[in-house]
């Protein structure tokens, strides 16, 4: 596999040795470049995902979706973004102005933060701490605070109800989400993102193959909880268009609303990305132990594998969103606390036993 760290090491030595920059300046330049890359990738992916959702949902609904703006409507989302950028922004009377302004940014921070952990390719993981997964769940929960204070500060009753719903739902589902990840970590033996991916090499090395039953259970539970974390149907209670008009972002116009909108789609991608990273081997190609086949698979770059897996999962999540009706708040909590949470706990024990006795596929 091509190791992207060759490029990064070369660039680092270019700055330090060839240009003779001090350590401070070299790191500064690298950080800025990486930051620009993250934001650019974030924006492009959001636009892609929104366009994809429109087309996918149109296909499910016997419609065509955007057709007129550019060929097959590919510039539709760009037009939307352009419009949203120049739409009037105002603060609502008697709203808590400071919190009202901070909230969309917090949501964005949470999702950009989590986004930076994605393993794009071999050696191209941007944030790669030894507590990677753990830190990622921590950062992504900033989004809950964003949603909560958005609802609270709007001075709108619908928003408050929606904020309560959002907070309750997301905090609850983080339990199962974390447990699923821990289940995976037991098998991989590391929390580091690159380590997790490395641990899934070899024939049938993907975690859902390696950890068979408990891993598959964890994967499915993760998809459900991840969907709930991303606030998408059938768990879109916080937004609940037909109940609470637009939920926590009822009072946001222009880019304030745009941030929530972008973050929603990126969270979708993050959920799919993490699922493919932890359970489907991230950028790791599929290996079946036959040398010729494995070699061919290795020729496909890691980034294609990763994005391919992530988008396949995104598609599944969209399919779910456009098929199911919305749950009710008590049903959502019942699902989490009575079924998913005990299931993940049992699953955790099961995985521990399997790892302890070495019953997984080596």
């Amino acid at each position: 596999m091509f190791d992207f760290s060759i490029v990064t090491t070369w660039f680092d030595s270019l700055l330090r040795d060839t240009c003779g920059l001090s350590s401070f300046w070299a790191i500064l330049i690298e950080c800025v470049l990486v930051g620009v890359f993250i934001l650019a990738a974030y924006a492009i992916l959001a636009i892609l995902l929104i366009f994809m959702e429109r087309k996918v949902c149109a296909a499910f609904q016997c419609r065509l979706g955007p057709m007129r703006v550019g060929p097959w409507g590919i510039f539709q989302v760009i037009a939307d973004v352009l419009k949203m950028l120049i739409k009037e922004i105002f603060a609502v009377d008697k709203a808590d102005k400071l919190l009202y302004a901070i909230a969309p940014i917090l949501v964005l921070v949470g999702s950009v933060g989590a986004f930076s952990f994605m393993p794009w390719n071999n050696g191209a993981t941007i944030l790669d701490f030894n507590v990677g997964i753990f830190l990622m769940t921590a950062i992504s929960s900033i989004g809950v605070i964003g949603i909560f204070i958005a609802g609270w500060s709007s001075n709108n009753k619908y928003s408050v109800i929606s904020a309560m719903r959002g907070a309750v739902q997301m905090i609850s589902y983080e339990m199962s989400l974390g447990l699923c990840l821990i289940t995976a970590v037991i098998l991989t033996g590391t929390m580091q993102v690159s380590g997790i991916v490395e641990a899934q090499s070899g024939p049938f090395g993907w975690l859902i193959f390696q950890g068979h039953i408990p891993a598959i259970i964890a994967f499915l539970v993760f998809l459900v909880t991840g969907n709930a974390e991303a606030n998408r149907g059938p768990f879109d209670l916080a937004e609940a268009e037909s109940e609470l008009t637009a939920g926590y972002h009822t009072e946001y116009s222009g880019m304030g609303f745009g941030f929530f909108y972008l973050a929603e789609y990126l969270n979708l991608f993050i959920v799919a990305g993490v699922a493919s990273m932890v359970f489907l081997g991230g950028w790791m190609p599929i290996h079946i132990g036959v040398e010729g086949f494995d070699k061919v698979m290795d020729y496909i770059p890691g980034i294609v594998w990763f994005i391919g897996k992530a988008f396949a999962l995104v598609w599944v999540l969209m399919w779910i969103r456009w098929t199911f009706p919305r749950l009710r708040i008590d049903q959502i909590l019942k699902l989490e606390w009575k079924y998913l949470m005990p299931l993940s706990l049992l699953n955790l024990v099961l995985m521990t036993i399997i790892v302890a006795f070495g019953w997984y596929i080596k």
Binding site: Q61, L237, A240, E241, S242, E243, F324, R326, L327, R328
Partner: protein, 522 residues
């Protein structure tokens, strides 16, 4: 039916009504018609039905004093009277003694005068809209009589100090129009709902009094636009009955088929909106897609997509399209597999069942007391299909099932409609091959005058009994025309159904009740 009113005195009115209700089983209050009887004073006509024998009677009572009219309330006998009496108060200013909540129902609380009185000035210049918010009172009024027989006014607070009140509506995606539900919440749980109506009150009844009979027909389609033909059928029916027009069989067949097409159309929209309100947007689009097929068939004959304007006094506007028979057959063949698809996409879904089952339960007694006809009533086990029990058209000649369920929850209400669609298809299939030859229109005089008297005629609309009360003085325009809205009882029953349920259930129950606001507000 021509009304032979039992005239009661205002003093022993309450006792007599209680006797009718408790001893003679007239436990379904069909409607209360407020009327300005001129010299006689203001009064009401109560139309009652015996739910065991389906016999109907009408009771007339007049408040003698024109300046300060009041009548005893019957809210303790029929819960339906709650909103109906408020409606009469709103339009005629008759105060109902003992009614717990005597506020205006349709009009703004700062509206001056009572519009349906004959002396009300309809001049547009004098009825300009106010551009500031309605200064609504936060108390209710209850009138009672003191020892000397004078009216005494008591005020009750609507809300407590710590109540969290949310206005759901008038502009809200799930209220199917401009209904406003003032909801007191306790967290997510609903404690009380005060419905506010009138955001689309257009004064159809009052305008009709100034128009000729053929002119009034145009309004019916715009009341409940989803049962446009049934509404019109009711109005045309009452006029034809009063004028004793004998219709040919062809007209009756055409009207019956059109009514069923319209019912199919409306129930498909119901299915779609149900799905949309609980968030299943794909199912919503599937329902709307098939609705277009129904519209195609109707459009070829009537020329209208939503509003048909097809019936007229003495028949129909035009004969059916040559392709009509064939198209209806095609439609029936097309629809049958679709019912299976709806089952797969939405009805069989476990989330949908969780959202609908045991939610918004209405008991049979309450359904009758509130007068919730149509699918809502039949879901509780109350057999109230007008097509069966007060037959019109050719419904008495055909064999179709009256769908009833037992539980009275949202799921049953939903299922009643889904099964009724199948029955509609069945009815159309039975009739379509046998449309007899004959005239599609029986020629009437250029100026239509209806003989003196009072009539009431009802049809089975898509969401209940649509009735029309006509009081004629022998002129070319009605003296009083009153529509029995299908949705009003449903809205008045909302509070009973939803106490203690969640906000999300309000949406689900609203979807399953399938009210159409312009029909309620008129």
């Amino acid at each position: 039916m021509k009304l032979n009113n039992i005239v009661l005195n205002a003093n022993d009115f309450a006792n007599e009504m209680a006797k009718l209700r408790n001893e003679k089983h007239f436990d379904f209050l069909v409607t209360i018609v407020g009327e300005d009887f001129g010299e006689e004073g203001f009064g009401c006509i109560y139309i009652l039905e015996n739910t065991q024998t389906y016999e109907r009677i009408s009771v007339k009572v007049v408040a003698a004093d024109r300046n300060n009219p009041f009548l005893p309330s019957v809210t303790h006998l029929w819960k339906a009277a709650d909103l109906m009496e408020r409606e009469v108060y709103d339009f005629f200013g008759i105060k109902f003694v003992g009614h717990p909540d005597m506020r205006r129902l349709y009009l703004r609380s700062d509206f001056k005068g009572y519009p349906l009185r004959k002396d009300y000035d309809m001049d547009p210049e004098k009825n300009k809209p106010n551009m500031f918010d309605d200064p609504e009172p936060d108390y209710t009024l209850q009138y009672s009589l003191d020892k000397d027989g004078n009216l005494v006014e008591n005020r009750h607070k609507l809300f407590g100090e710590d109540d969290y009140v949310v206005n759901i509506g008038p502009q809200h995606p799930a209220t199917h129009g401009v209904l406003r539900l003032q909801t007191i919440l306790d967290g997510e749980v609903i404690r009380k709902i005060y419905p506010h109506l009138g955001y689309i009150h257009r004064g159809v009844e009052k305008i009709s009094e100034g128009y000729t009979y053929p002119q009034t027909l145009a309004f019916t389609d715009r009341l409940d636009y989803l049962s446009a033909t049934m509404n019109r059928h009711a109005l045309v029916g009452v006029i034809e009955e009063a004028m004793e027009v004998e219709l040919t069989d062809r007209i009756k067949y055409i009207r019956t088929i059109m009514d069923e097409l319209q019912r199919l159309n409306s129930h498909l929209l119901f299915y779609s909106c149900c799905a949309q309100d609980v968030g299943a947007l794909t199912a919503f689009i599937y329902g709307m897609r098939d609705r277009e097929q129904v519209i195609n068939v109707m459009e070829e004959t009537t020329g209208g997509r939503l509003i048909q304007n097809y019936y007229r006094i003495g028949g129909c506007q035009a004969d059916i399209d040559p392709n009509f028979v064939q198209n209806v057959k095609k439609l029936c063949a097309y629809m049958k597999p679709m019912f299976k698809e709806y089952q797969d996409v939405f009805t069989g879904n476990v989330i949908m069942e969780n959202r609908f089952k045991n939610v918004g339960v209405l008991s049979r007694e309450d359904a009758i007391s509130y007068g919730c006809t149509g699918g809502t009533g039949r879901a509780t086990g109350w057999k109230n299909d007008v097509r069966k029990h007060h037959s019109y058209g050719v419904y008495d000649k055909i064999d179709f099932k009256e769908i009833t369920y037992e539980n009275g929850d949202s799921y049953d209400r939903y299922m009643v409609r889904m099964k009724e669609m199948e029955q509609s298809v069945h009815i159309m299939e039975t009739l379509i091959d046998n449309i007899p030859e004959g005239d599609f229109y029986i020629k009437q005089k250029p100026i239509i005058k209806v003989p003196e008297g009072q009539w009431y005629f009802s049809c089975e609309g898509s969401r209940g009994e649509i009735g029309v009360f006509l009081d004629s003085k022998g002129d070319k325009s009605p003296y009083r025309l009153k529509f029995r809205p299908m949705g009003l009882p449903l809205v008045s029953a909302l509070d009973t159904m939803l106490k203690g349920e969640k906000i999300a259930d309000l949406i689900a129950v609203g979807a399953s009740l399938d009210y159409v606001i312009p029909d309620i507000d008129r």
